[in-house]
Symmetry: C2
Subunit: 509 residues, 2 copies
């Protein structure tokens, strides 16, 4: 899934470091031995794996007491930081013969220079581990601050990949995401032209909750949601042999690291923090402050809690630890499970929205897992059953499109007409009150993304794939009620019969 | 619900303040006029409402240019800060005759001294708005830092109430909470003596999720949970005419302020924070850091988010904004609604627990609202239906007890044998593997607590009451499986038939 830059960026790496040893090199090791070591590095050790004429070289060195200082220069092949680790290992063997060990490695300077002239509009202000950044004459110069642990974690390589990502994302910027019509229903009689959220608020079917983008659903809307679920159960989950599970709704960072969401979820996440301790004394000043002022001291609270993850965003990632690290027998495939055990959260843009765009919303999440062929074929079954529901039961004016999947969109990639097997189908329906089409559901074939991320294998060794499909209850309601209105007498027969009489519990003066 | 101290604490208030005026008092107002004002205050204005011989007095004053400095001393009746506001108002009338207005009020010193000798074990280290705190010879001396806004918000009164609360809580400390047996079932044949969580983990019915106190429930356990819900629906919710609603699961502070949870929820809350902005540039450094290190920079994230509340803790508070500020016609009572739309969260103590003590758990929450009589009577109906379920369908060894309600326990009060109408019934069942009894459900009559907190009124003017009952699915399962085991052949007939064949979806190698 990682985007590959098509043209490699030209780059130079220059590194100054010092190896500190357990004994005096100057006193115990002949200068000629070190000269031999450097020659061997420059002809052999630091060239291995690089095309002829490429690789790294030690271009300067000096011995003083127990220190060996050196300067390495390289191209993109054996990058200077890799070269340094190779050289360190080799140096260890050489001085080991004199009963000297290497005690420390310090990096004084690390400068990376890249060709960077094509990216005029792409501003780089700050980069992790970069203490100085210069962009002049089509060259980008980075001065890095690194220790040995950072080298071992391959920070410089990841930094370069980050730059490539940014270049890639920048080039896709402005291009619209891929969207290709797969199916469009007939035009349906539209009996209603109002915003259903406004209407429902007026009828007391729902109320704004205290939070942003959050509603409290009264008995009537809840009945409609539960009828949607009942239809989904009868027309799709039962015929396709799905079993219900309960997926957690707090998602720790570990899960989002594996699912890939940790790459970009931040502006839209609802973050969850836990107390640093449950000790009542630790919290006494917060409680006292509240009791005296009737205000919650949120700034003080922020000092006393720590972030562990966020609330459910996409619904299936927290399922995957159920399978994490396991090997599955082929005969249990395709696995078919769903979850409807709680809400999802997204920090949406501000302003007034109805139930079509919420911070807290409810979804049935459908997950299937199998071989590549099984997963692709099963997606077609879902598509057929959904089509039946939207055509025969809900009688919607709707369409189906092939779009950029989220994990591509997140990385700023958009085109992807080339993707035919891995990808997302979006379901959209017309909102007569605005004339816009609203995405109300999807079916996604995610390839091996999740099995790989969570290290799930198949006994036969065949590639394990998965798919997921989210049924947004608020979105279904937004679409259905926008087209059909709130008067149940005007609803399609089958649906009206399934809903029954809407419960009237509340009346206000 | 506020605990009242039985013996009032003796206290003295001494306050030094300066009123700054718009013109020179020294130049324009006769000293005799001010003398008159002070005499009038000391005989009349600052005594009003206090028992004879009590109240406040101006014990020193001085005029310099446009400033009127004064010192007020009082007992617990007209407290010095109230006296100051009274005096300020009166002074405004007096100097108004000279076309002089009051421009500002500054408090130089405010000292409160209280009898505090009985509380040897109660340590006071830090109190809000208190810059100095001395405890000597049975007297507690507080030096306050206040501005006029703090006076108007009655901070000193709330501070004294806080001290009374702390004294009250301290006196209750060590006393066990009230617990009184109401009903106990017959002894039942116990067929199992293992910890069901351990057994379920071994059978692959559930898996530890990535978070603390969190599980992923496989198809078998989920089927058991849904069967519990089905029983609840058929035996209690339908016969008692309950309608389903969807309550929000993110709870903002505003809701917890009104429900009373803001008084003490802090050590156990799961806190929710939102991004300070959705601007992608604002989050770029976090994304870059993750991409380069594969670590999520949680400390950096803490700087970029703000706390808005927490995840569902008690399940009914976020329902109440549905009714907030409204007046209900009597004829719709009793209102009966329930919610099962998502999990609740509690930061539980660490260590190893099974599904009987979780950080993330699932509950059906039942809420009823009516007149006092309706609410009390309806609780009896619930009690009867629950008894039927536990006796006839689940065949549990269980008991029912009258206990201290949470909002009393939170304030450190415990006794409460005197409470007969407002209060909580706990349901407990025996866990054969540990020999302990586990609380697995409650029925609470909450009096007017919620209608008052959320300002909900009844057309007739009668007192509006409410009750709630939480059905913990994990707790039901913990109790049922601990007594009956995992082998469905050994389960009571009715339950076994309702569950049907447990779905076997997964197998691992």
């Amino acid at each position: 899934m990682k985007p590959q830059s098509e043209e490699p960026i030209a780059m130079t790496f220059e590194l100054k470091a010092t190896l500190t040893c357990s004994g005096s090199l100057a006193a115990k090791v002949d200068r000629a031995v070190i000269e031999d070591f450097v020659r061997h590095c420059n002809t052999d050790v630091l060239k291995k794996g690089a095309p002829p004429g490429c690789g790294a070289a030690i271009i300067w060195w000096e011995v003083a007491a127990e220190n060996f200082a050196l300067e390495i220069r390289s191209d993109r092949y054996v990058r200077a930081h890799d070269a340094l680790l190779r050289a360190k290992k080799e140096f260890g063997t050489v001085v080991g013969k004199y009963r000297i060990g290497i005690r420390g490695l310090e990096i004084q300077d690390y400068r990376i220079t890249l060709d960077w002239d094509a990216e005029e509009g792409l501003k780089l202000v700050k980069l992790p581990f970069v203490k100085e950044l210069k962009h002049e004459g089509g060259r980008l110069e980075l001065l890095l601050a690194l220790d040995e642990a950072a080298l071992e974690n391959r920070i410089p390589d990841r930094l370069i990949r980050l730059l490539e990502d940014k270049r890639e994302a920048f080039r896709w910027r402005g291009k619209t995401e891929h969207w290709e019509l797969l199916f469009e229903s007939a035009k349906k009689p539209l009996r209603f032209d109002k915003d259903p959220t406004e209407e429902m608020l007026q009828h007391g079917w729902l109320e704004h909750a205290a939070g942003r983008g959050q509603y409290i659903y009264g008995p009537q809307v809840t009945r409609i949601f539960r009828t949607f679920e009942q239809i989904l159960q009868a027309e799709l989950l039962t015929p396709l042999s799905y079993a219900e599970m309960i997926f957690p709704k707090l998602v720790t960072w570990d899960v989002w690291k594996r699912s890939g969401h940790a790459k970009g979820i931040y502006p839209e996440a609802y973050y969850v923090c836990t107390p640093k301790t449950r000790d009542p004394e630790y919290w006494e000043e917060v409680i006292d402050y509240f009791k005296v002022t009737n205000e919650v001291p949120v700034a003080q609270i922020m000092e006393k809690i720590e972030n562990v993850g966020g609330m459910c965003y996409a619904q299936c990632p927290p399922f995957w630890p159920f399978l994490q690290g396991k090997t599955l027998p082929d005969e249990i495939l395709p696995i078919r499970v769903f979850d409807r055990s709680g809400p999802s959260f997204r920090y949406e843009s501000g302003g007034i929205h109805g139930i079509e765009r919420l911070d807290e919303f409810h979804r049935v999440e459908i997950v299937w897992i199998g071989t590549k062929q099984q997963v692709i074929e099963h997606a077609e079954l879902l598509v057929a059953n959904y089509r039946h529901i939207f055509e025969e039961i809900l009688d919607l004016q709707w369409r189906e499109a092939w779009v950029t999947p989220w994990f591509m969109a997140q990385e700023g990639r958009a085109g992807l007409a080339e993707l035919r097997e891995v990808g997302t189908r979006d379901y959209e329906a017309l909102l007569p009150y605005s004339g816009k089409w609203l995405e109300f559901q999807n079916v996604s074939v995610n390839g091996d993304k999740y099995p790989k991320g969570f290290n799930v294998k198949l006994q036969s060794g065949a590639e394990l794939w998965s798919g997921c499909s989210g049924v947004g209850l608020e979105r279904w309601a937004a679409v259905f009620l926008a087209q059909k209105g709130l008067d149940s007498d005007l609803w399609p027969n089958t649906f009206r019969e399934l809903v029954g009489a809407l419960p009237a519990v509340f009346k206000f003066l």
